[in-house]
């Protein structure tokens, strides 16, 4: 606890540099990565990250320094070359785009590893630490690194904000953007450039191998919560930033823990939780929705049975026992009692001693279901020319789905029918 407080006081300059640095890197990668995600170019980001390695190695070999600006220039050149190579291969050869991505990734990465091994064995005193680009080593960040990376991060954010409108239309519908006379070639170049830049600085914290996670997963998490691009960019930055911060916190608390992999771990956890719990788009809300639907079906079927047994058959609101109801409809006991409970809670069924009775609002609801069933049977027989013995099963499921608007259309189109094809009356409420 004391350690956590010490971390968040940011009084230690190393903590300050490392955590601020990782947060900036992660945020800029997340924002830029959102466009790669929406353009369905997730793997392209991965390939560029891997392809940056030879550029860094060559820049080091030529200059002999580990100055971040020099190395970034190298990263930029080889990242750019890789982007161009992927586009060229896809356009000019018969190879598919995923082959182009795999080809560029493995060839560039192979060359990078080769050069890195060469540097490692060449014995110049300065070489140690270059391999940190493989898995990232945020803890080794200097204040010079921090300034360089934050400047680049700010630049990237400014580009995305300034070009927001153009990036949006280019990502959604590039042909339309081109047809409107927008400079799509330049837009694409700028987007490629900021992507390469974001990757080039991002690998400092997570390394080339895990970079794709930093680029793509924040966007995937953000998409689960929103359907607005603006909010999505903001949420992706937030998710990236939180992950960057917790990665540095964890490696501060336990120095044996690497920052990069923990950033990715945090990202993955946030993303998994988002994909599961997010309202509307999350898996949980879909499961709940399905459950609500199946409960609705059981509810409505029971009401229908009740209505047919009492009002329709006997002309009055009979009291029925649970066993009488259950005999009429094949349904397992647990589902049945749960449904009875729900119907009581909605005040559609009233308990009369051991027996049950439809309430007046229950009758309205039951009539609605029976009406929809019979209206739909009418529709099937009149418009689809189905035989009378074929229409019941379909109506059994559609009666739960037809909305009030569709019901109004049905009634109008069938011109207020009073009987269904089996000559049963169609119950209207008024």
């Amino acid at each position: 606890m004391h350690d956590i407080l010490a971390f968040f006081s940011f009084s230690d300059p190393t903590v300050r540099i490392v955590s601020l640095g990782t947060v900036f890197l992660a945020m800029s990668a997340s924002v830029v990565g959102t466009f790669a995600f929406l353009r369905k170019r997730a793997l392209v980001g991965d390939a560029i990250a891997h392809a940056i390695l030879p550029g860094i190695a060559i820049a080091f070999m030529l200059s002999g320094t580990k100055n971040p600006l020099v190395l970034m220039l190298g990263a930029l050149v080889s990242g750019w070359l890789a982007t161009w190579a992927m586009e060229y291969i896809t356009e000019k050869t018969k190879l598919s785009s995923d082959t182009a991505v795999a080809l560029v990734l493995s060839v560039f990465f192979g060359i990078g590893i080769m050069l890195l091994t060469h540097i490692q064995h060449s014995g110049s005193g300065n070489q140690s630490g270059l391999d940190q680009y493989l898995f990232g080593k945020a803890a080794g960040m200097t204040s010079q690194d921090l300034w360089t990376y934050s400047a680049v991060a700010v630049l990237l954010l400014l580009v995305v904000l300034g070009l927001y409108k153009e990036l949006k239309v280019y990502t959604f519908n590039p042909d339309f953007a081109a047809a409107s006379g927008l400079p799509v070639k330049s837009i694409r170049r700028v987007l490629n450039l900021v992507t390469v830049l974001a990757i080039a600085i991002g690998i400092q914290s997570v390394g080339v191998v895990l970079m794709a996670a930093l680029l793509i997963t924040p966007a995937a998490a953000a998409r689960a919560w929103t359907s607005s691009l603006k909010v999505m960019l903001f949420l992706a930055a937030l998710v990236g930033g939180i992950s960057g911060l917790s990665g540095s916190l964890i490696s501060y608390l336990s120095p044996a823990m690497p920052t990069g992999p923990w950033i990715v771990m945090t990202l993955s956890i946030i993303t998994l939780l988002s994909l599961f719990f997010a309202p509307k788009r999350g898996a949980l809300s879909r499961l709940l929705k399905q459950r609500r639907h199946s409960q609705k079906i059981v509810n409505e079927n029971l009401l229908k049975v009740f209505y047919k047994l009492s009002i329709e058959k006997e002309g009055e609101q009979l009291e029925l026992s649970q066993s009488e109801l259950q005999a009429e409809r094949a349904i397992n006991k647990a589902d049945f009692s749960a449904a009875i409970k729900r119907l009581k809670r909605k005040n559609w069924l009233l308990a009369e001693g051991e027996k049950l009775k439809l309430s007046s609002i229950g009758v309205v609801e039951a009539k609605r279901v029976v009406r929809l069933h019979r209206l739909w049977e009418m529709y099937l027989s009149q418009r689809l020319n189905l035989k009378e013995d074929h229409i019941h099963p379909n109506a059994e499921s559609m009666e739960h789905i037809i909305s009030p608007e569709l019901e109004a259309l049905l009634v109008k189109e069938l011109d207020f029918p009073t009987q269904d094809p089996h000559n049963s009356p169609i119950p209207y409420t008024n």
Binding site: L163, E166, V169, F172, N173, F176, A178, A179, G181, S227
Partner: protein, 270 residues
């Protein structure tokens, strides 16, 4: 009365993945007409639109709009791509998509003005989507998606509209509404070109027709074009020799013209 020529396609040859799909297409279209571009699957209808909009490079030939190059009159043209060509799961609202119709080189890097927003609202109102302006595009039906695309195009306030299959996958009410809208554009003197594949409705919908089957079968007023001989020619299969030659071009990767071949402009072929 003689209408101004809105669009001229001159000896256009174009390939898709190196296979020629349009051979020497040559026609002129007067302004103020509702024009159907008809032909069987794979007859080059979409390729023709993409060439007019300069979204792909032609092997030879050129396109003139009101006698000028596309880049000089870009804002007088509006393009509606096929509905399926975009991902409708993209995070945007109906209004945001229609606003894209107001994006142009002159407001690059800048926000839309309130006059732009007014035009967006007017376009939404015309297609009956104003009530859905804040709805997410992922929640729309096929017909509503098409209305959104048309609203985006209307917001461009062009003189020529090029629409790729606007009637595919839409409900009857939407089809009727779109057609009424296009007819009213025509009555305002705009030129509307529609890629369409339903022959049943074509005669009723359009004033003019362009019949394609990798070559131009006919172009002109519907009374002249829409007859059984012409339709049989367009729909009766590809010309065997032409498609065989096209296959050789694709397989052997022949260039269709010498590298510095330039078509002379004007009436050189008369």
């Amino acid at each position: 009365m003689e209408n101004e020529t809105a669009l001229e396609v001159h000896n256009l040859t174009a390939s898709y993945q190196r296979k020629p799909v349009l051979w020497e297409i040559d026609f002129k279209v007067p302004s103020g007409r509702l024009i159907g571009i008809l032909g069987p699957n794979g007859s080059g209808k979409t390729t023709l639109l993409r060439n007019i909009m300069n979204l792909m490079e032609a092997d030879s030939g050129y396109v003139k709009i009101f006698g000028k190059d596309l880049d000089e009159v870009r804002s007088r043209l509006s393009y509606v791509p096929q509905r399926e060509s975009v991902d409708w799961n993209f995070p945007a609202s109906v209004r945001e998509v229609v606003e894209m119709g107001r994006y142009r080189p002159s407001n690059l890097l800048r926000r839309l003005k309130s006059s732009d927003k007014q035009k967006v609202n007017a376009a939404l109102e015309k297609v009956g989507m104003l009530a859905y302006a804040d709805r997410q595009i992922s929640e729309l039906s096929g017909g509503q998606q098409q209305r959104v695309f048309i609203a985006r195009s209307l917001a461009q306030e062009a003189d020529i509209y090029l629409m790729d299959e606007p009637f595919v996958g839409v409900d009857a009410a939407t089809e009727e509404a779109i057609l009424a809208l296009l007819s009213s554009l025509r009555d305002e003197g705009k030129t509307v070109l529609i890629v369409h594949h339903d022959l049943q409705s074509a005669y009723q919908y359009f004033d003019w027709m362009i019949l394609l089957n990798t070559r131009l079968v006919a172009a002109g007023p519907k009374e002249e074009v829409f007859n059984s001989a012409r339709l049989k020619e367009a729909y009766g299969g590809k010309l065997n020799l032409l498609s065989k030659l096209g296959e050789i071009v694709a397989r052997e990767q022949f260039p269709l013209r010498e590298p510095d071949f330039k078509e002379k402009e004007g009436e050189g072929d008369a």
